[in-house]
Structures are given as C-alpha cells and as structure tokens.
Subunit: 428 residues, 2 copies
C-alpha cells in the first residue's frame, strides 16, 4: 500500500497506520486546530477534507471542537469507514487529492510545522498496575519476595483513579514538584522540599471509544470494542512524595503533577496484524473470576523503549526495553473490572496499563526497579561521556518509543511516535 506522499521506510506512520490526532497548524487567518492522521513526515487534516465536502465520516462536531471525543464515540464501523476513505484518498493511484494543488495545500502539512495537542478531552483518567513483573519486583523491595504480590493482585486488575487535568501531550515541559516528604524513621518529621526521587513510568494507555451507561457493566468479551486505540504514556512519579502520602488512599501529589502521552492514537485496526496471546499462567496461579475470563484472550506485540537525553548531551541513550505483550492483565480485563460494579466509562477516557516491565531486570519500566530503589546506579554511555542516574536530574529529556514489526513480520512497521518531555527544575 503506497501513498503519493513519500513515507520513509523506517517511518512510524505508513499508510497502514494512520493514527489519529489533534494539531494546530498555521492558517490564512492564524493558527487553526484540526483533527487528522499522520502519514510519514506529514499530517493530513480530516477537518479540511470535510470543509471541502470530501466526505470523511468524522462526526461534524469534531472539527468544531478540535477533539476526537465524538469520533471515538462513533464506534468501529465509523472508524473503519474513515480509515478506508483516507487510505483511498491518499493512495498513489488516486488523483482526487493528489492532483488538486489548492486542496493539497490546505489538507497536507509537514509534521514539523504543526503543534500536537491532546487527542481528546479526557473526562476521567484511570491507571492500573497490570504488570506482574513490575508488581513483583516493587513488592519484593518493600515486603520481601515471599509477600511480593498483595493477596488481591492475581485476582483482579488493581487500579486507581488518576488526575485528568495534569495529562499533557508529548513535548510539554514537566516541572519537578515540591511537596511534603518525610524521613522514614519515626517520629515522622515532614518537610516541604523538591522531590529528589523523580522517576518515569513506561506505560501504554487506551483511549475509550463508546462508553457505557452508569449501572451497566461492559462484559469482557466485548471490551476491546470499547478501545479506540493506544498511546504511549509516561506516568511521571515522585517516589519520596508518594511514599509519605499514599497510605491509605493511594497516590496523590506524587503523581498529579504530570502524566504525559504520545499525541497519535494508534487504532485497533492498525494493530490488528500484531495481535498475540497474553503470557502463560504460572503453576499455582488461580483461575480468574468469570467476569475476567475471555474465550480467546489477546493483546498486542508492541516493542517499547525509554531513552534519556541528559542536559547538554546531543544524543539519547536507551535505558530500558520492554513490550506490551508482557502484561498479566489485558485492556479488555481492565475495562471489564473497571465497569463490573456499574462505573461508567465515557468516550475519550484514558486507561493506563501501569509500568510495563519485562522478564529481565534490565527490562524494567521505571528507575525505581532499574536501580533497586536507588541502591544501584544505571550507567549509560553518551557521546559526551558516561551518564549515571539513580533518579532523574533536572534537564533530563525522557522519551518513550513504541513500535510493532519492521523486522520481517507481514506488514510495515506500525509506530507510536514519541512521548517526550524535559524535566525542568522545581519552581523557585
């Protein structure tokens, strides 16, 4: 499948991908907000195609409001129809857009010329804790290997309600928080201080498409139909703040200062060739309760990596690699559990996976694990010398990457782009 718009071979965004996003582009009367898709190094404005009466079946409110919520709500038939129309319009053999230079100038922009915004108005953001490797390693550090997993962990996908106001797109700077922290030895002597334990968390998050009515659960068997698509997510965390505050009601100021997502939502249609089975059960694992059992469970094979670019350094260093397929709980199970008691999800809601760690110690999805709660350093080579980190330092740029295929599988690389943010010093 080739487009008349050039797509570099190693691009995250071939015509088979077409992830959806919201962006601000220059216009004749100043910057304008569009919804559209990515293709190679360009973006395609579905808003402009609609204004030119080329029927891309994106609900009309979308272009007015500069958000994808209404399109997300429209469900899979509408998503497929829009994808199919765009793949036809952008195909190398199709002249309708290609041969209309005035239309091309309105519809096609370089990615370098636009500013990416959040894809949706996020009504509620929920974060789970779905990686067994992550929960086991963190639990071992604090409670020893025998009690690593809490009694509920293998029975339900543990999650908590996060803060939607502080979800920001890739590129937004992130500021080191200052809050109450405490010495761990009794009696507690809290002080207000800049966090000295700022960490990243490597996550994938699902944008909800159609929602459900309050009081009615979503069965696990149809739960994937409620997923519009996936993004990368860095759940920036301040471990020292979190540790002092989190008993008994969970994370609060340790997490609510920034959660960062990649701006392009990769759809279930684009991910279809990369479906795979979830991890096998281990001996002694309990059967999950019926509301979490799927006849044909699946997840997606998405390679993940985190890079750090220290201040003054011109090259990123990869500090960990993982994969979405390692998760013990799938997004379908998270959705079924979220709604089992009647909680309503709404189009545009965001569900994070929690830190995604792999089987090896060096495939952990956060510094807390990689450094064993700062007992060890991670040491990486950069062009300007050796970089050592226990936690993040001011000026560090943290970049998450995610991609499927590109290595001989039956389809071109389907990438997520980047989720990237610089850690600014604490507000003076």
């Amino acid at each position: 499948m080739e487009s008349f718009i050039e797509v570099p071979l190693d691009s995250d965004f071939p015509l088979e991908n077409l992830p959806w996003g919201v962006f601000e582009a220059p216009g004749p009367a100043g910057p304008q907000v569009h919804v559209g898709v990515a293709l190679g190094q360009h973006v395609i404005s579905a808003t402009e195609l609609q204004l030119c009466s080329i029927v891309v079946p994106v609900p009309v409110h979308t272009r007015v409001q500069g958000r994808l919520n209404e399109f997300m709500a429209a469900g899979r038939p509408a998503w497929r129809a829009a994808r199919s129309t765009l793949q036809r319009l952008l195909n190398a053999s199709e002249g309708e857009l290609r041969d209309n230079s005035e239309l091309m100038s309105r519809v096609v922009h370089k990615q370098a010329d636009v500013t990416m915004l959040l894809p949706a108005q996020i009504g509620d953001y929920t974060d789970f804790y779905a990686s067994r490797q992550h929960a086991t390693r963190v639990g071992s550090m604090f409670r020893g290997p025998a009690n690593a997993l809490n009694p509920n962990w293998l029975h339900l996908p543990v999650g908590y309600h996060g803060r939607s106001s502080s979800v920001v797109p890739s590129g937004a700077p992130v500021r080191r928080p200052s809050s109450a922290v405490s010495s761990s030895s009794p009696p507690p002597r809290p002080v207000v201080a800049p966090s000295t334990q700022v960490d990243f968390e490597l996550e994938v998050a699902a944008f909800i498409g159609p929602g459900n009515t309050l009081g009615e659960a979503i069965p696990v068997e149809s739960a994937w139909e409620h997923v519009f698509g996936l993004v990368l997510m860095n759940d920036w965390s301040a471990r020292d703040i979190q540790k002092w505050e989190y008993v008994p009601l969970g994370p609060f100021c340790g997490k609510n200062w920034a959660t960062q997502i990649s701006p392009w939502v990769v759809t279930s249609e684009a991910l279809e060739p990369f479906k795979c089975r979830p991890p096998a059960k281990q001996a002694g694992d309990p059967d999950v309760l019926p509301y979490l059992q799927e006849a044909m469970p699946y997840t997606y094979d998405v390679n993940l990596a985190v890079d750090i670019t220290p201040p003054g350094v011109d090259r990123a260093t990869t500090v960990t690699r993982s994969n979405l397929k390692h998760l013990y709980w799938s997004f379908a199970q998270m959705i079924a559990h979220h709604t089992v008691g009647g909680c309503n999800l709404r189009p545009g809601d965001l569900l994070g996976s929690g830190t995604i760690s792999g089987d090896e110690a060096d495939s952990s999805g956060c510094l807390l694990e990689l450094t064993h709660a700062s007992r060890d350093e991670i040491v990486t080579e950069a062009s300007t010398g050796v970089v050592r980190r226990r936690y993040l330092e001011d000026g560090d740029v943290v970049t998450l990457r995610g991609w499927c295929g590109g290595d001989g599988v039956p389809c071109r690389r389907i990438g997520f782009g980047r989720c990237s943010g610089e850690l600014l010093p604490c507000q003076p």
Copy 2:
C-alpha cells in the same frame, strides 16, 4: 430583605441565599436547560434574563452550554455582581421583573416543575479524608486506638482522586453494585457478588471557581478565593468491595458506582455570616507545615443531618447529625495541599471533604462508624414500626440535609436543600 416572590419562613432559599444551579424546565418548544438560582419554592432563570437583555453578568457561554463552569471561572467580582443584580431584580420594591407578566412567566418556574441537573461539567473530582473524628474511629476499628491515625494524617490532608463520571445529582437512583469481594481469612477466595455492605458518607464538597496553571501552586492564604461554593455530597461506598481492592492504590470499584451531590451550590457570599474558627488543636498535635498555615483560618458553621426512609415507609428518620465546622482540615488547606506540587485545578472541579463526623459516637457520618463495622445495629423509630440497620437495604432512601442559622443568629436560615437517592437492587 424581602422578595415579591413568597419565601416560606423555614425555606432553605431566602433572598440572602440565592444558590446557583442548572435545571431543565418546560419551554414552548420542549424542555430547555437553564442556569439560575433558587428562591423559596421557585427557581429564577438567569438564562432567560440574559436572553431578555437584562444584564445578569453570567458569561454568555453558560446559557448555551447549560453549565456553570464559565461563571465559576469568572471569579468573585463577577459572582458578586450577579448576586447583587438578582437581589435587586427580585426585591419586593423593584418592579422591573415583578410587573412584567410575560417576563415573569419565562424567568420564574416552580421548583416542582423543573428537573435539577449537575451544576457543572466536573473535570476532576477529588475526595479528602479531613475529619479527625472519622479517621480516628475508623482507624481504631482496624488498627486499635494507639495506631488509629496513620503517621501522615496530622501533617497533611490525605486525599485521593475520585471518579467524576459517576457523580450524579440528587434524585438520581443509585444501584447496589456487584463486584469482587473476598473472605478475609487466608487464602483469599474471591467471588463476584452484590455488595452486602453499602454505606452512605456524609460529606460537604466545594466547587472550584478560578483554577490554577499546571506547575503553579495555590497559596493557602488565597485558597478560599478559588471556592465558588459548597454542596452536600453522599459518597456512596461498598465497604466489602473496598476492603478487598484498596491495597495499595486506594478505593476503586468500592466507590466509583455513584457519588451524589445536592444540586444547588451555596456561595461563599451567602455563607459569609456563618464563618467560624476551625477546631482547636489538641495537646501534642504537631504544627502543620508552612504551606498549610493560615494567618486567620476559618470554616463555616453548617449543620448536617442524614435521614433514612426505608421502603414502604412514609416518613424519614434522622440517623445522624454533624457539622462542617468539626473538620480538622479546611477546604483552603485541601486546595493548598492539592496544588502544592503543581497539580492544576480547573473551574467546576469538585473537592469532597470526606465523611464528616462529630465528637459523639452518634454524630458519625457513615454506618461503618455508627454500627462499629456492623457489630451493632442502629435502631430508629418510624411510623410503621422500628427500623434496624447495619448497612443499607434495597429501597432505602438516603437524604442529606445541611443548613446554617435559623435559630437566632443574625440572618435567615441559609440551606443547602437536599441530596437524596434511593438504593435500587443490584442489576439482575
């Protein structure tokens, strides 16, 4: 201050109150959504006053969108101007509205003829745990009196992010949830079952007016300026679900099936005569950190009560009485803590106080406390006989009431109306 619209002496809504709300009223072309205020047994449509070019300075988007967010964002000068305009227009001595029967018919509706909606689009809902009496009694039950308060409790207002999608207005039915629960004896044997421990929580919640920018804290000294007004809140809770799920990330399915609020937002201006000092410190209490210290701390003297009307019974029985003034942490302190690390609040966000319990055991704000985790029964007399409860039963109607004054203080009763909901049986 008298209006030409009759206000019964015991009304919650005299001309000194004028709480704001959003309601649907019959119109010539079908039901229409209005913003407006309550007066006695009537509602006054600010939307219609604007449409008739009577300048009530409510930002214009409000009437289009049927929500108060933009008005909340406008800040205290705009709130005061609107209040002053409405108090003049509605005054017994003022003819502009009174003598215009066509205008009257559009602007004034009976409360019985309108349906109350949520006052705002709630971007994020946060719930705190700010009552010392509640935290102490609940902590004593589970950890004994010596360890009742967690080490952080006296140092910061503990809170967590709640679920905004399941916030519903008074009058909405509430459905008993079914979710995973477990026997407490090891090994855990979870089952999915209807909760048998459904409880109410008597709370007051603040609607945020102007917000703050991500990364910039709100100082405690100006925090009250960010409060548009207060409502009553019933944080419906399923104790058995909560108990099994909440370690380590806090409440989730135990709480996210319904949180109910009273629909009229009582403003800081109306509450002004009922300002009072917060509770005195106890011997040995630590000084709070500087970011939580106010030069002149205050709260409001708001009487609170919870009534239960069992199914088939025609009369409500009051099961507990408390007061907002008992809270250890004020809303100003909750706001300062919420934002200290840079978290942004947005206009229309909702901050709950947590269960508000008084000093006496029978002034506890939830059944968990009143029945000592169902060890005892509460026994109340009703017209049809004696009612006994450990937790709530299907068909119970729970009604929260709140009011200031009305007993000789220098102003008429300023009431909150009701927050009322019926517990429906679990979805079959």
